[in-house]
C-alpha cells in the first residue's frame, strides 16, 4: 500500500512532497491542471518543473480531473486553460470525436511530463444513465488509444451507493482491462470527515475488492475515509496537508483569485490515530494535559509539531500506521476484522476522550458511518 500526495494550489507541493517521499511516508504525487500551471505563474512552478524536482523513483501522475468540469460551481480556471486539453469548448465530450481528441491531448500532456497514461472521466451521479454510458464510451476509447493506460471512475454519493446498478457499471468498465484504476468519491462540501453514507462506503469497498483482483486501484483524495477501501484491497490512497487534498469536493474548484502562500491551518490539527479522527490543536493539548498516557496511546507518538511540513508528516505517519495495521491481515477477511476492531475500539474510547477534552469531534461523525459501511461490505462477502 502506498500513499500519494494530492495536488495543492499552495506553494509547498514540491518541497513537502519531497520530504514525505524521502522520509518513506509517500511514494509520489498527483498534479492536476486546476492546481498546477503549465507554465510558471507567480510562486507556482510549472508542472514539468514540479515533476522534475521530485526525488529519483518518485511516482508522479497528471490527473486531468475532467470530472471536475461537471461539478456545480466549477470556475477555478487560473491554471487550467494553460494546458492544451481541448480542441473546442472546454468540457465538450458529446461526440466520439470530441472524446477521442480530449483523450489524445491528455495522454500527450502526460507523455510530455513523463507521467503514466491516466485516462480522464466524467462525474457520475448514477451508474445507469446516458452519462454513465458516455463515461463507459470515454474509457473504451481510452484503452483503444493506449491499452496500457489507467482508467478513472468518479462519482458522487448517489453513484457509489447504488448497489447492483453500480456493480453492473463497474463490470462493464472492468471488461476493458486497463493497467490500473483511479477512483474518487466526490462531495458537495469540503466537510471533514466527509459526509459519507454507509451504502456509499460499502459500494467503494465492493468496487475496490473487484477491480483490485486484476489491477492496482488508487483512491484519490481518500485519506482516512479510504481505510475501508484499503481493507478491500486498494493499492494506494491520496492525501495531503490541506483540506482540499483530503476530500474531493465541489468547492475545491470554485472560482478564486488567489491562494494563501502558507500551508494553511489543517496541518496544525493533530491526527488522533486510534480514534481515526483529526482534532483541533487545543483539544488535543487539553487531552494530553488531562491524561498523558491515554493521549500518547491514542496518538501513538508525540503530538504533532505546531507548524509546517513536520506537522504534516505527523498525519502521514498516522495514516501509514493505520494502513500497516490493516495490511497485517493476511486475507481480505482478516483485514476487515482488523479495521472493524480499530473502529470499535475508537467508538468505545470516544466518550472518555470527550469527557476529558470536550472535543467537538464525535464518533458519530468520524467512525460510526465508516464502521457501518465496512460492515455492509463484509455482509456482502458473507463475513458477518
Amino acid at each position: 500500500m502506498s500513499i500519494y500526495i494530492e495536488d495543492t494550489a499552495r506553494n509547498n507541493l514540491a518541497t513537502w512532497t519531497t520530504n514525505a517521499i524521502q522520509a518513506g511516508l509517500a511514494v509520489g504525487a498527483v498534479i492536476t491542471p486546476f492546481t498546477t500551471p503549465h507554465d510558471r505563474q507567480g510562486h507556482k512552478q510549472a508542472g514539468a518543473t514540479t515533476v522534475g524536482r521530485m526525488p529519483d523513483g518518485a511516482a508522479m501522475w497528471f490527473d486531468a480531473t475532467t470530472h471536475a468540469l461537471q461539478m456545480a460551481g466549477v470556475g477555478d480556471y487560473r491554471f487550467y486553460d494553460g494546458w492544451n486539453l481541448w480542441e473546442g469548448a472546454r468540457g465538450a465530450l458529446n461526440t466520439d470525436d470530441e472524446q477521442r481528441d480530449h483523450l489524445r491531448r491528455v495522454f500527450a500532456t502526460q507523455s510530455a511530463l513523463g507521467t503514466p497514461a491516466l485516462a480522464p472521466t466524467i462525474l457520475l451521479h448514477s451508474p445507469q444513465s446516458d452519462t454513465s454510458q458516455r463515461a463507459l464510451s470515454i474509457s473504451r476509447f481510452a484503452v483503444d488509444i493506449d491499452p496500457a493506460c489507467h482508467l478513472s471512475i468518479s462519482g458522487t454519493s448517489s453513484f457509489w451507493a447504488s448497489g447492483a446498478e453500480l456493480d453492473a457499471h463497474i463490470g462493464a468498465l472492468a471488461q476493458l482491462d486497463p493497467s490500473g484504476w483511479f477512483i474518487s468519491a466526490v462531495y458537495a462540501s469540503t466537510d471533514l470527515p466527509v459526509n459519507a453514507q454507509p451504502a456509499e462506503i460499502a459500494g467503494i469497498a465492493r468496487t475496490v475488492r473487484a477491480l483490485s483482483a486484476y489491477a492496482p486501484v488508487h483512491v484519490s483524495y481518500g485519506d482516512l475515509a479510504a481505510l475501508p477501501a484499503v481493507a478491500a484491497g486498494a493499492t494506494s490512497i491520496g492525501t495531503g496537508w490541506d483540506l482540499r487534498q483530503k476530500v474531493c469536493a465541489f468547492p475545491n474548484f470554485y472560482q478564486r483569485d488567489s491562494e494563501p502562500s502558507t500551508g494553511g491551518s489543517w496541518p496544525r490539527r493533530p491526527t488522533i490515530e486510534r480514534l481515526v479522527s483529526i482534532f483541533d490543536r487545543t483539544e488535543a493539548e487539553r487531552l494530553q494535559a488531562q491524561d498523558r498516557p491515554l493521549a500518547d496511546s491514542l496518538i501513538r507518538g508525540p503530538l504533532s509539531p505546531h507548524e509546517g511540513g513536520e506537522a504534516f508528516t505527523h498525519h502521514l505517519r498516522c495514516l501509514n500506521n493505520l494502513v500497516n495495521d490493516i495490511e497485517a491481515g493476511a486475507t481480505h477477511e482478516e483485514r476487515y476484522h482488523v479495521l472493524r476492531q480499530i473502529y470499535e475500539q475508537a467508538i468505545d474510547i470516544y466518550p472518555t476522550v470527550r469527557g476529558l477534552c470536550s472535543c467537538r469531534a464525535t464518533a458519530g461523525e468520524w467512525v460510526t458511518p465508516f464502521l457501518a459501511g465496512l460492515n455492509l461490505y463484509a455482509r456482502s462477502e458473507g463475513w458477518n
Partner: protein
C-alpha cells in the same frame, strides 16, 4: 412476400436447396438445406419488416464477424447475412448443421461433476472465441446449447443480431430468456450484458445440470423473478449437492457472483477454471 417466398429467394441467393423444415415460429424459420457439394447446412430466415437500416447493417457486420469464429464449441456460420426484398422483408444466413439434441432435452437427472465441468469448459471455450471478437452472446439458455452425438457441446445463436432483428425474447431491452438471464440483463445503459454476463449464464447452465433446477427459478410473478434476479438471490448449491467438493461449489458460485467483476472475466478464463477442476 410470404415466408415461403422469402425462403425460396434466400435459397436461390445462397445456392442451396431445401430438404425439410427444422423449426418454425414467430418471425423466424429454420430449414435443413443442402449446398451444391451435397453438404447439409442450416438456413436461418428472420422476418425483418420495420427493422431500420442501421440495425440491419449492424447485424450484417456481426454475422461477418461470426464467420471468422473457428472454434469447435461455437456453431459455424457459413455465409454472410443477406437481405431479401428492398426495403428488407427478411434476412437469411447459413450455419453448419448440428446433430444431437438441445441441452434442455438431455438433462435427465442430476449430472456428475465431471459432465457438468465438461459443459462449463466447452461453453467457456466457445464463448471465449466470441469474447475475443468483442461479441457477447447475451441469450445463452438450455435451448441454444446443443450436445452433439459425440458428447461435446456447442453454443448456438450467438451475438447481437437476433436482438437487432427483434427476433429474440427480451428482458430489459436485451435478448434473454427468463430463468437464464444475468442481472445485467435488467440494465439498459452502461451496465448491460458483457462477457461477465455470459459467464453468469454458463453458471446457470452448470447449476441446472447438477441439480435439475435453475439457480434463480422463473416461478411466480414476473416481478418477483425480476426482483430475485436483481438481488441475485441464488439457491444454495451446497444444500442440493452436498457431495460436491468445496472448490467445485466455489467455482459455480463465482460464476453466479452478484458483482460481474468478481466472476471469471470471459469465456477463456472460465474454460481454464473448469478444466482445472474437471
Amino acid at each position: 412476400m410470404t415466408i415461403d417466398e422469402i425462403i425460396d429467394e434466400a435459397c436461390a441467393a445462397l445456392h442451396v436447396t431445401q430438404i425439410r423444415p427444422l423449426r418454425d415460429g414467430g418471425q423466424k424459420s429454420v430449414r435443413l438445406v443442402v449446398d451444391g457439394h451435397g453438404a447439409e447446412l442450416v438456413l436461418k430466415v428472420v422476418l425483418v419488416g420495420g427493422t431500420n437500416a442501421d440495425a440491419l447493417r449492424r447485424s450484417q457486420r456481426e454475422v461477418e464477424l461470426l464467420q471468422r469464429v473457428d472454434n469447435p464449441h461455437v456453431v459455424a456460420v457459413r455465409s454472410g447475412l443477406i437481405q431479401i426484398g428492398d426495403p428488407a422483408e427478411g434476412v437469411a444466413w447459413l450455419e453448419e448443421y448440428l446433430d444431437g439434441d438441445d441441452l434442455s432435452n438431455v438433462i435427465n437427472g442430476p449430472w456428475a461433476w465431471e459432465s457438468a465441468a465438461r459443459l462449463g469448459k466447452e461453453l467457456g471455450s466457445g464463448l471465449g472465441a466470441l469474447h475475443e471478437l468483442r461479441v457477447v452472446h447475451r441469450d445463452l439458455s438450455a435451448n441454444n446449447v446443443r450436445q452433439l452425438s459425440d458428447g461435446s457441446f456447442k453454443v448456438m445463436d450467438p451475438g447481437f443480431a437476433r436482438h437487432e432483428l427483434r427476433s429474440g425474447i427480451t428482458i430489459g431491452g436485451h435478448p434473454g430468456t427468463p430463468g437464464f438471464a444475468s442481472p445485467e440483463h435488467l440494465h439498459s445503459y452502461s451496465g448491460g450484458p458483457t462477457p461477465f454476463s455470459d459467464v453468469f449464464c454458463v453458471g446457470i447452465l452448470v447449476f441446472l445440470t447438477l441439480t435439475e433446477q435453475l439457480p434463480i427459478p422463473f416461478t411466480g410473478e414476473t416481478s418477483d423473478y425480476l426482483r430475485r434476479l436483481h438481488d441475485v438471490d441464488v439457491i444454495d448449491l451446497a444444500a442440493l449437492r452436498p457431495d460436491l467438493a468445496d472448490d467445485q461449489i466455489a467455482l459455480v458460485k463465482r460464476c453466479l457472483h452478484p458483482q460481474p467483476a468478481r466472476r471469471p472475466r470471459n469465456g477463456g478464463e472460465l474454460a481454464s477454471l473448469f478444466e482445472r477442476l474437471a
